[in-house]
């Protein structure tokens, strides 16, 4: 899922300081699962905005809503349900949602309530970890399913480096050396011979280095 966390509330208050009517708009997809921007978090943020404005002696009307997703045109269109009831939208979706509102709603002012942090998974309740960089050229079939692009601090394709100590990365002792983990795992699944392969120089044009990416599926377009 896309993992995010709420911005400092004062940063959000600064965004809406001149607004009279605000729609705090949640997303019931990834950011709901990571407890950053779902319906519950919308309630909390709306309340914090009201309290913050009250403290500042300002009047503001804050209404709450949420969409199934903010990354599909069909759902963005339903923002019309709140037509006339807001002069700014505070989106608690990831950056994709904020972009979609900006792309598709010419007149709407939209602000981000979250900092979108990474694509990851929940290791334990309340703890998320980055697992995928979305680099566009997956090598997980060569690395036992563990991603060296995002889980190695240097994104090495042939590791580990000399900074791997006792199975930990030199950037911090709390960070596993993923290349140690890759070697261990390739052993465990009987593919240790794969570690003799030297990965060639990588073409990063499929990643963000090649500019904004678009995926077109002719079999799905109409």
């Amino acid at each position: 899922m896309i993992v995010a966390k709420r911005k400092p509330v004062n940063e959000i208050l600064e965004m809406v300081k001149d607004a009279k009517k605000v729609l705090v708009l949640g997303c019931r997809s990834c950011v709901s699962v990571c407890s950053a921007g779902g319906e519950r978090e919308v309630e909390i943020l709306a309340s914090l905005i009201r309290i913050g404005m009250k403290k500042a002696g300002k009047k503001i009307k804050v209404i709450e809503g949420s969409l199934v997703r903010q990354c599909d045109k069909e759902f963005i269109a339903s923002i019309d349900d709140w037509k006339g009831k807001y002069d700014a939208i505070v989106s608690t979706a990831c950056g994709v949602g904020v972009n979609f509102i900006a792309n598709l709603r010419e007149k709407d002012v939209v602000y981000p309530a979250l900092n979108t942090t990474f694509m990851g998974g929940s290791e334990e309740q309340g703890i998320w970890a980055e697992q995928c960089a979305g680099c566009g050229d997956c090598v997980l079939h060569l690395t036992g399913g563990l991603c060296p692009v995002v889980r190695c601090a240097k994104s090495l394709m042939n590791g580990p480096c000399g900074g791997s100590v006792g199975g930990h990365c030199e950037i911090h002792s709390s960070v596993d050396c993923v290349w140690q983990n890759i070697h261990d795992r390739m052993d465990a699944i009987g593919q240790s011979a794969g570690m003799d392969r030297i990965a060639p120089i990588r073409d990063w044009s499929t990643s963000t280095h090649g500019g904004p990416r678009t995926e077109v599926r002719d079999d799905l377009t109409v």
Partner: protein, 138 residues
């Protein structure tokens, strides 16, 4: 200028037995400040952050939560969850400039104990000293 704070208390079913069993007059005789409003919840672990925030939205100057001791919570982790949520509220209140001390978590034994009233008195003294949460804009 005298100031009587509006204080909202959220107490679990077990730690608030004193409030359930005793009438308002008896509570007052025990020393419970009259400006503390008791809100009973089934378990403080069920108390959502937004419920506490709504209390401030509605004009509370201070809010406190009373739950079981963490090690002996009737619902195992209920009061521990509540304590973490109160910390989140305290952080938000500090960020908003209201002061983190306007919210507090207390853990008291179940049943009839003077600590229940003491918690209310502590908050009443603290919030009275801090003054109104919203100044004149309340």
């Amino acid at each position: 200028m005298s100031f009587t704070p509006d204080i909202q208390a959220f107490c679990c079913h077990y730690t608030s037995q004193q409030a359930i069993a005793e009438a308002a007059e008896q509570l007052k005789a025990d020393g419970m400040p009259e400006n503390v409003t008791l809100n009973r919840v089934v378990c403080t672990g069920k108390l959502q952050e937004v419920t506490i925030l709504k209390a401030f939205e509605n004009g509370a100057d201070g809010v406190f939560v009373v739950g079981c001791p963490e090690e002996t919570c009737h619902n195992r982790k209920g009061s521990a969850r509540a304590a973490k949520r109160v910390i989140a509220i305290k952080n938000s209140l500090e960020e908003l400039g209201l002061g983190s001390d306007r919210a507090e978590m207390f853990h008291t034994e179940r049943g009839f104990h003077p600590e229940f009233v003491t918690a209310a008195q502590t908050m009443n003294d603290r919030i009275t000293a801090m003054g109104p949460a919203f100044g004149d804009s309340k």
